[in-house]
Symmetry: C2
């Protein structure tokens, strides 16, 4: 499935880096640990980092009931969400062609507020498993009171595009002979060994999904 190219989601700068197929877009959403959500109030833009997860064809966001962002989404306003994975620094011979390797998604949509406790539990399970697969069955699950204090919204991914760059620099032909090192410095988000809570009950080992933490993609 491809997202239709429209005015909203068309990649304008360096259009050959634009991608519209659902599989590519969903893989980037699933690999990232956080997103940045933009909204506008009376022409003033705001942008906030937050945890996300994909549940089917919707993007789940959550937070405290009083959250300004979530109230804004509940009121029916449009938001834009960016999800960015940084893969490396591209050191071209020239400053002009220096760049970054990355995979990014920008999507647009409206949200609906999840109403029933069943829907909210399913979405919170999705968020929890997005961060660490296996955690939902280990953790103490939300109580009715905690669910009530939490707003969960589902954004329909109405329009989306991905943009990516990979590989070595693209220098000007005449620059390749310069005595300047060029290449890529690969970057990755690395997990260090889990640090136990100082108040941890003795005798509990860190679970495998944290000791051998890996993200898809």
């Amino acid at each position: 499935m491809e997202f239709e190219q429209q005015a909203l989601n068309r990649v304008r700068r360096i259009p050959e880096r634009g991608q519209y197929d659902q599989a590519t877009i969903y893989a980037i959403i699933d690999a990232a640990l956080l997103c940045h959500v933009a909204f506008a109030v009376d022409g003033q833009p705001f942008v906030i980092p937050t945890i996300h997860a994909r549940m089917g064809d919707e993007l789940i966001l959550h937070g405290a009931k009083a959250s300004r962002l979530l109230k804004h989404i509940e009121a029916g306003h449009p938001v834009s969400v960016a999800i960015t994975l940084l893969d490396g620094l591209v050191m071209a011979r020239s400053v002009f062609h220096s760049s970054m390797n990355y995979r990014s998604v920008v999507l647009f949509g409206h949200g609906r507020t999840l109403q029933t406790n069943d829907e909210k539990m399913a979405a919170l399970a999705c968020l929890t498993e997005h961060l660490a697969r296996g955690r939902w069955q280990d953790a103490r699950l939300p109580t009715a009171q905690e669910l009530n204090a939490t707003t969960v919204v589902a954004l329909s991914i109405a329009s989306a595009s991905a943009k990516a760059r990979s590989g070595p620099p693209n220098d000007e032909p005449e620059d390749y002979a310069l005595p300047i090192w060029a290449g890529v410095l690969p970057l990755q988000q690395a997990a260090l060994p889990p640090v136990p809570d100082p108040q941890l009950t003795p005798g509990l080992d860190a679970p495998d999904y944290l000791v051998h933490y890996r993200r898809q993609g």
Copy 2:
């Protein structure tokens, strides 16, 4: 120096995590490799990831002359910029108290377009050194034609706030006795060994600032 707490920059959710001092805010800006810029056109919010650098009390952004974001800033419209460093996954005993450790900045401002080649060169040096300290003196510098094809804007950091979480989970008192592992999975952006361009002139070694790449903060 502290940024004044105003309606725009006041940290509303969990206000005790809010910080307004310039040193804290500048350290986060300087440590991050990219930012997310939000802008609004006719009430529709957009958000775009891009490279940034701080030059004194201004934030530098750049791109091709045709960039919609840069044209929007040049026209005098306000933008909001988020810069986020992810430090770990906080595994509380309860789903409700699970969280992330992070350092983030949100700032608001208007931009001015840099006009002279001297100003643009200074800003591009700042961006290049922000990514890899030492690169500016090694790389082939921009030509007049390349400068002309590049728009550089400086955002006045008129209003800003930082928000951060660190340390172990904060569980409900009665949950500490549960037989559930709790703690933090630390995350960090790691650089792998530099990968030479396949077309690299033989005999050139990767520079020290890439082989021993480290970010401040």
